[in-house]
């Protein structure tokens, strides 16, 4: 290494030959507003160099600086006795009992996936895995929450299949099972797919390590892959709207994932952390070395000094600007204990990877970058990481959306054909239909810990050596959030909690991914603020604090924003794996009980989208107290081993949920005979998407106990029918209508829908 000390006497920043001059245009090209640039000048007390400008631009982008969301995020509840690490680190960490801690987080890769679906999704998974193992936890599960336009477009099929292969190939190769997620198709996401990936990692409590740089004189080392020119300015890019010519201009910004290197890096990192040779470790994610080094310095209250000539590069002639901002994947920055650098190098060497000292921790609070001993950037670290201006804007609801919400839906509530026909259409709609086509491309069983695979309400991973398990789910109905953001956001949290209690897990904490349009527009800011308020209210009510998350704004194409989509990733704890409840019916003759109230709220439903191509109406209301009572009632039934199955009602309403219970995984389906005498129209009764409903099945001998538990929690409960033999068919009667179909037919509609669409015509990128 070029000794950084030799430069220590020469602190003045040298302008580099060949770097562009700093003009107003160059500043604007870096995405900094005039006001922000003023602030840079104040912090620096001089004109920044080109390198410094690049550093500010990346750190003060929305992606790294959260300038439009930070004030809102501070409204979220973050504390509970079981929270070990709240927001601010690479991932949140909670205590899950028996000495184990769970690290978990969700991350978006929407823009990269819009440009290059396969690599965008793959590198998204890579990034979230690194966030988890840099906490000292071994990644044990991945979930993916995906949204696309309607599948009748070749481009959408191309995005969908590319994203799914990218998620799969990366996670499969590293060897982390996928345990769930979601896929939604709606024209609201045309042009702007949403690709969110969540990861869970387990560790012994004492193995927790954080990403801070402390200990003056300690060495900073890069480990893992070499630095190339890929993804330079990805962080700024992720905060811009896509435009017609994005494909062209963003080509060089595509990063290619290398899951094989990631797997080696994962093993090497966990070994490094175990060795005690390092005191801090951080993934080089968005904005590469710049963000990892400055954030580590910021958290440690220290400074850093780095020599760019010592960074291992993949290409010749890279400038400090490029090295600092490169987003090449599968790299980490670690802080080694002084004198133990060689040990670090040897551990990496064993895993056939490189580790190189590129600098050291200082005590002067500066983020300093050298090139062959000359200082090319010298920025106070704290203002760089924490001084990004934040904005609170006025939020105003869009009149257009208000009108949609208040639309009279009456004319759409009589089916055109018979009810059964609408039912089958709905079951076969890509949003309701089985997502097997997706998760059969994922390894769901590697690591031999998957107790519930994708396809159930939540995925479950057992903790080996204990009776415990952790469960996880991701949820958000963007249509509801679009129609009424606060209610919709509460519904997302409530649905996630319902999905957890259905398998028997106690909802414990959430991570969230705020996917929105351009927050500089008042109606989008309104959606963002209301959504955050909704999440906060629901998390308060459920005692599920927020331990972290991610914000992805500017999801717009040609001025059209996606539905506001605050994806909730919720985790829960199961104390006894033998008590996990199945989603599907288990035994002929069991009673079927509906918990919650069938209110018939049909605004924003899949039924309206499928039959009338409408996203309108008042979305279902949320009663947080009622939801909480429902969760507790189901958990109590689970604890007393009274129920054989539990499944919540979501897209497609009661009818589709019951069909899913009957069909199961298709191997051993059951029939159903059920009747519901409410005074609603058949369509709203069967397909309405009222919240707070869970269908359970139980031995008839237990039914009275089940009803008692429900009553003691104040939860409405009604026996609506019984599980029958599959050959007896599926029959569901409401006051003014009925559905009846053969179970085999329903199963076909449900399982074949996605494969048929995807096989029918090619997916084209052009």
């Amino acid at each position: 290494m070029t000794p950084a000390n030799s430069a220590a006497t020469e602190r003045s920043v040298q302008p580099r030959d060949g770097d562009p001059e700093i003009t107003a245009e160059v500043v604007a090209g870096h995405g900094l507003s005039e006001e922000e640039y003023e602030k840079v000048l104040n912090i620096m007390g001089r004109t920044p160099t080109f390198t410094e400008l690049g550093v500010f631009s990346a750190m003060w982008s929305e992606h790294c600086g959260y300038k439009n969301s930070r004030p809102l995020l501070s409204l979220l509840p973050t504390k509970a006795p079981w929270v070990i690490q709240g927001p601010g680190e690479n991932a949140g960490v909670i205590d899950v009992g028996d000495g184990y801690a769970l690290a978990f987080k969700i991350e978006s890769h929407n823009h990269p996936s819009a440009v290059e679906p396969y690599q965008g999704a793959a590198t998204g998974v890579g990034g979230i895995l690194r966030d988890i193992f840099t906490m000292g936890a071994r990644p044990v599960a991945v979930l993916d929450s995906l949204r696309f336009g309607d599948l009748d477009s070749g481009r959408v099929r191309y995005l969908f299949s590319g994203v799914v292969s990218g998620v799969g190939d990366y996670g499969n190769c590293v060897g982390v099972p996928n345990i769930g997620g979601e896929v939604v198709f709606d024209r609201g996401y045309e042009g702007n797919p949403i690709v969110n990936a969540m990861c869970l990692g387990l560790m012994k409590r004492e193995d927790l390590i954080t990403a801070s740089a402390s200990g003056t004189g300690a060495s900073l080392m890069t480990v893992g892959a070499r630095t190339g020119r890929d993804g330079i300015h990805g962080a700024t890019f992720a905060s811009e709207e896509l435009s017609e010519d994005s494909d062209e201009s963003s080509r060089p910004r595509v990063q290619v994932g290398d899951p094989f290197t990631e797997k080696l890096l994962l093993e090497a990192s966990l070994e490094l952390i175990g060795s005690g040779a390092i005191t801090g470790i951080q993934d080089m994610g968005a904005a590469g070395i710049t963000s990892s080094a400055s954030e580590m310095a910021g958290r440690g209250g220290s400074g850093v000094e780095m020599e760019m000539a010592d960074v291992p590069v993949r290409e010749e002639g890279m400038t400090p600007y490029e090295i600092l901002l490169s987003e090449s994947q599968e790299r980490m920055l670690v802080v080694a204990e002084p004198g133990r650098e060689e040990e670090v190098r040897q551990i990496l060497e064993k895993w056939e990877l490189e580790a190189r000292v590129i600098g050291r921790v200082t005590d002067d609070g500066m983020f300093r970058v050298l090139e062959h001993g000359k200082v090319v950037a010298n920025i106070p670290a704290l203002p760089l990481t924490g001084g990004c201006p934040t904005y609170e804007r006025e939020g105003i609801e869009s009149a257009e959306i208000q009108a949609l919400r208040n639309m009279d839906l009456t004319e759409h509530l009589t089916p055109e054909g018979d009810l059964t026909e609408s039912f089958q259409r709905l079951l076969g709609s890509p949003n309701v239909a089985s997502k097997r086509w997706v998760y059969h491309q994922y390894d769901t069983t590697v690591r031999t810990a998957t107790a519930v695979r994708p396809g159930g309400d939540s995925g479950v991973i057992r903790i080996r050596g204990t009776q415990r398990a952790v469960a996880a789910t991701t949820d958000c109905n963007g249509r509801f959030v679009y129609l009424e953001p606060k209610t919709g956001a509460m519904a997302a949290v409530a649905e996630a909690a319902r999905n957890l209690v259905c398998v028997g897990a106690l909802p414990t904490a959430i991570t969230n991914n705020l996917n929105f349009g351009n927050p500089l527009k008042a109606h989008i800011y309104y959606q963002l603020r209301e959504s955050v308020l909704g999440i906060a209210a629901a998390c308060d009510a459920f005692e599920t604090p927020v331990t972290g998350g991610n914000v992805s704004l500017f999801n717009e194409t040609d001025g059209r924003a996606i539905y506001p989509t605050p994806v909730i990733g919720m985790v829960g704890v199961i104390e006894d794996v033998s008590k996990i409840t199945a989603q599907a019916f288990q035994r002929i003759g069991d009673d079927v009980v509906l918990l919650g109230t069938n209110t018939g709220e049909i605004g924003g439903s899949e039924y309206l989208y499928v039959t009338a191509s409408l996203v309108a109406g008042q979305p279902p209301s949320i009663d947080l107290e009622g939801e909480r009572a429902l969760q507790q009632a189901v958990l109590s039934m689970n604890q007393s081993s009274l129920i054989r199955s539990a499944h919540d009602c979501s897209e497609g309403g009661l009818a589709c949920a019951l069909a899913e219970c009957a069909i199961g995984d298709g191997e051993a389906p059951f029939g159903l005979s059920a009747r519901l005498d409410d005074d609603l129209r058949p369509v709203v009764s069967l397909f309405g998407e009222a919240q707070g409903r869970i269908i359970i099945s139980c031995d008839p001998a237990s039914t009275s106990d089940v009803l008692k538990i429900a009553e003691s929690h104040g939860v409405p409960a009604l026996r609506i029918g019984a599980v029958t033999e599959a050959t007896d068919g599926f029959s569901l009667t409401v006051r003014d209508g009925s559905l009846s179909a053969s179970v085999a037919e329903l199963a076909r509609a449900y399982f074949d829908a996605l494969p048929n669409i995807m096989d029918a015509s090619p997916a084209t990128g052009g």
Partner: protein, 90 residues
């Protein structure tokens, strides 16, 4: 109409990481081929096309590359004529 066989080579764009090439490079080196430098890996496709002329066969191939065969974001392509096959049967 005649029948042509075209060879289409699709390769990763310069500057993009090629993990496969990297792994092969590494393996060749450790098998003792020290003199091996850069390795890049792409796809090669052999396509039989019916067309009026060599030129129009080439044009069709180019259109196919743009639409389906190559990923415009990460890959470059090259087309060469392998042979003109007589008649319709290849």
């Amino acid at each position: 109409m005649s029948q042509y066989r075209l060879e289409i080579r699709v390769k990763p764009r310069p500057g993009l990481l090629d993990p496969q090439g990297k792994a092969i490079h590494h393996s060749l080196n450790s098998l003792g081929w020290d003199g091996v430098g850069d390795v890049r890996v792409g796809k090669v496709m052999y396509i039989d096309i019916e067309a009026d002329s060599e030129t129009s066969a080439g044009e069709a191939a180019e259109a196919m590359c743009r639409k389906l065969l190559a990923n415009p974001v990460t890959e470059d392509f090259e087309i060469s004529m392998i042979e003109a096959l007589e008649g319709a049967g290849s």
